[in-house]
Symmetry: C2
Subunit: 206 residues, 2 copies
Amino acid sequence: MGSAAVTKQRILDAAERAFGTYGFAQTTLRSVVKDAGVNLALINYHFGSKEELYQAVVARMAKPIIEAQLAALNKIEPVAGKPPLEAVLDAYIRPGINHLLHDKKLALERAQFFARYFMEPIPVQKLTDREFEECDAPFLDMLQRAIPEQSRIQLAWKLDAIVLVLVRAMGQIGQPHALIKSYSKADIDAAVAELVAFSTYGIKGE
Amino acid sequence: MGSAAVTKQRILDAAERAFGTYGFAQTTLRSVVKDAGVNLALINYHFGSKEELYQAVVARMAKPIIEAQLAALNKIEPVAGKPPLEAVLDAYIRPGINHLLHDKKLALERAQFFARYFMEPIPVQKLTDREFEECDAPFLDMLQRAIPEQSRIQLAWKLDAIVLVLVRAMGQIGQPHALIKSYSKADIDAAVAELVAFSTYGIKGE
DNA sequence: GTCTATAATTCGATAGAC
DNA sequence: GTCTATCGAATTATAGAC
């Protein structure tokens, strides 16, 4: 890999940490280049602007998660003509956690960025509106087949709520009362099971 | 009320709107005074700094909500020696929503501020760490009496998740797929019922 | 208490040398 | 591609008149 590619990656890594910790508005490009060990002007050279840097960080993170989620969704086997609710939620929750936490050295910063990403003010959210959009529709379709008696609006806010809880759980790893106790595979699997159960019964409502 | 008190209130109202819409970092004091119709220098005269203004807004909002939640908690009647889970969650969820949405003219901005408040980066959260702290312990105590078979850590992350979902619901009022469709009492009551059900079954996990 | 005017920083972005 | 140096804009905070 050429030194330019290395520079871009160092900037993206440092930006991920900064945006995840301080949010978009409170992140300064000067702190990013200091952390990355590169020159200030290189951000604008490689990415154009602060907003485009943010979009690049989001895009790099979203791509593998969406691919994993859709792959899991397509593997669901219907039971009695319906996809099992628990399987749909598992396909939604597990790939994101697994991918984000796979590399233990990067897990915390990825989780924190992901948590912060969903909590930006609307003007910042508009910068990356369409990144995860392609994933919501197919999951909502499958949810409606799993629970036809609930409206799409009900399922939509519940799915949104699950993303929130999921993101919250990842952002709090290591803190005293966190759901995910450590980055070990056992703790992660246990947490996923709890999240899927919480979501399944919460959504089913019975 | 003297004109100084009017000025302070106008600043607090405008700050609530701005902080709720743009977050702490992206809110400029210039936009606040423009919205409030007062002079820029009066913010520092009355509140000292941007951070202290933010703390004042949070304190004004938190006080009545906490009082209402604790009052509702104390009214719970045990059934067979245990407080009913649904009653505990109702006492947690309903007072906040009712107080925030009571005044229809202020409901949207209050809800949005409340949603944004929970989603600020850690440096901003530190400014107001202790505001809602006194409310968590008594509710966790009551939850443990309601479901003794679950650990305090399990109940803690689930209660935290419910706050998140609640806050999310309030912050999205009026948007297309929102849980709370309007500020009418009927829509609010319906949403509270759905949230309580979602939380009850999600927490119970069966 | 309220205003005008401005000080003192800080930030994103860029020009131009290498 | 990478660097230094700096511009121009925007911000918080404040000094001083009224």
